[in-house]
Amino acid sequence: MTHLEEPIKEVLILKNYIDGEWVDSKGNFHDIINPATGKIIAKAPSSSKKEVGEAISCAKNAFPEWRKTPPLARCRCLFRLKELLEENFEELSRVQTMEHGKTIDESRGETRRGIENVEVATAIPSLMMGENLEDIASGIDEYLIRQPLGIFTCIAPFNFPFMVPLWFTPYAVACGNCIIIKPSPRVPVSQVKLTELVDEAGFPPGVWNIIHGEADVATSLLESQDIKGVSFVGSTPVAKKIYQMCGQTGKRVIAQGGAKNFMVIMPDTDLDKTIPALMTSFFGNTGQRCLSGANAVCVGDDKFYKRFLDSFLSATSKIKIGYGLDETIQMGPLQSEEAKKRVLGYIEKGIQEGAKLLLDGRKPKIEGAYPANCFLGPAVFDNVTADMSIAKEEIFGPVACIMRAKSLDEAIGMIHKNPFGNAACIFTSSGASARKFQYEVECGNIGINIGIAAPMAFFPFSGMKESFFGILHGQGKEAVRFFTESKVVIGRWW
């Protein structure tokens, strides 16, 4: 089978999920369009301030009981959810492809990474345990307990509609908090499908809520005194604004921003193995991820540079573009026409600033009869210098900028000049180079012979500089710290 069946057969009218019920919104509806086919797959509401208030109020009411629910009972809800996610694995993945455009392999990878977070959060009886020390003074003991805080909100991005909220939500509820998710208004269907399973898993009403809407819904959530913390993944300007707002209102915050990730290719690397990793890094998810490769820095002499460039261009020019439900496709469309327009703007800018466009993706060959609205082919720029916009700014599309450095030191210097610090990867067969890279580079996620340095669910998803605002990160033990207050008790008994 080459073309997989679409799971969404008719236009879905999305509802909010508040207090364990699917509730019609009175707000205006907008279309959710499959970027590959151009067809409408759903209509999503823009919820009102009143509806946001209702969601907060219901979550607030649910919190005292949920908090008292033993961690083992809370994690059993997650075990049931995990089973339901496995049962619906394929449908969930295909929905992501339909609303986002990514290939089916990429969607399945996203589903798996989401489920892994649910799995890790099921260990909450161990993860949430405190610490204690006897006899801190004679006959006095001291111990630390972790307590949930109340209501958290998760403001989700469009590039990973299923997975990103799961970096936070399973930990939030496992710790005894209630959560309100605001999916991206561009791709809300995956979260609706997930929430249908949450409902089936038997979480008590009000613990897990979903409210659709645009920036005004996010603002209402951020302004609420009842919301104790916020997780956000998106662009740097918005991440910074949310960080500031949370500071003003005394909320905890994980705010992950944009990225401009460097891939450093050393002359001693195994190019045959490096190239597929770079293809995934630069063009996987159509370049729309915060861990994507953006700048390829080739270290070495002209001979190695030519060999690298030839291999890179040869592999890039073979990438098959089309609808991600066709299993042969290696790169899907961009998520929206606006996203495509933005990338096209950067390609124009790159040409104007003097970079050499070696591969022009502006008129791609699309497999199948699909409208070109959101499709772009991979673009490769050579002669890119650090001062060019395409080298400095986040493009968020399938554009590779090739740069050169004489040494690893020079390459690291280029990374440090860039304001972002999400990820950086090195391809080398030298342990010394790899160690120097991981030691010196100021980025939160480092890849060594890995093109996408995506941390597993039991490690924090890190980030530095303009890519991250906050202290604790999503996923694993850090998420448990984020979603709990550390209370210290010092006791003496006469």
């Binding site: 089978m1 080459t2 694995f89 990514k102 290939t103 089916i104 392999d105 990429e106 969607s107 399945r108 990878g109 996203e110 798996r112 990474r113 193995k273 190239i275 597929p276 990793a277 293809m279 995934t280 996987g284 998810n285 861990l291 592999a315 073979k318 098959k320 299993e327 042969t328 496709i329 290696q330 790169m331 890995i450 093109g451 996408i452 340095a453 995506a454």
Partner: protein, 144 residues
């Protein structure tokens, strides 16, 4: 047919195992004297199918090279089909089965090699199945 993505490769392998499962079930009906061994082959094909599906689904990651690692994997579907006629003698059928098992073994070995750098359990699973194919070839040989 060129197989490029992990999804394609996995589906192709699942189809192969399904076809073999049906083949050995039919052979068990057609040649009752060898029913037990043919049914054991069919059962093994079913297990292989579960194993392939499971390792892929449990370790697939968008962060690894699922879309780009199978460059050059070109397969002809006809190469993996057995057409049996009513008049075929058991020895002739067994030779054909042995031949097809050999081809499938080669396919699995190549896939295992190409997926070595990603999806941790996938190459291991394909290597295990390729090894089982070797054992099966020997079993079939002993029947000829």
């Amino acid at each position: 047919m060129k197989l490029q993505t992990a999804s394609q490769v996995i589906n192709f392998a699942l189809q192969l195992e399904e076809n073999l499962f049906k083949l050995y079930e039919n052979l068990a009906k057609s040649y009752p004297e060898k029913k037990d061994i043919f049914l054991s082959f069919a059962r093994e094909n079913k297990k292989n199918k579960t194993l392939i599906q499971r390792v892929y689904q449990e370790v697939v990651s968008d962060a690894l090279e699922t879309g780009f690692s199978f460059e050059g994997l070109d397969v002809d579907e006809r190469f993996f089909q057995i057409n049996l006629s009513q008049d075929d003698k058991l020895s002739s059928v067994l030779k054909k089965a042995q031949d097809i098992e050999k081809r499938i073994q080669n396919f699995y070995q190549e896939v295992a090699l190409k997926s070595k750098s990603f999806l941790a359990d996938v190459p291991g699973a394909f290597e295990r199945i390729a090894k089982k194919k070797e054992e099966r070839k020997q079993k079939i040989n002993s029947l000829i």
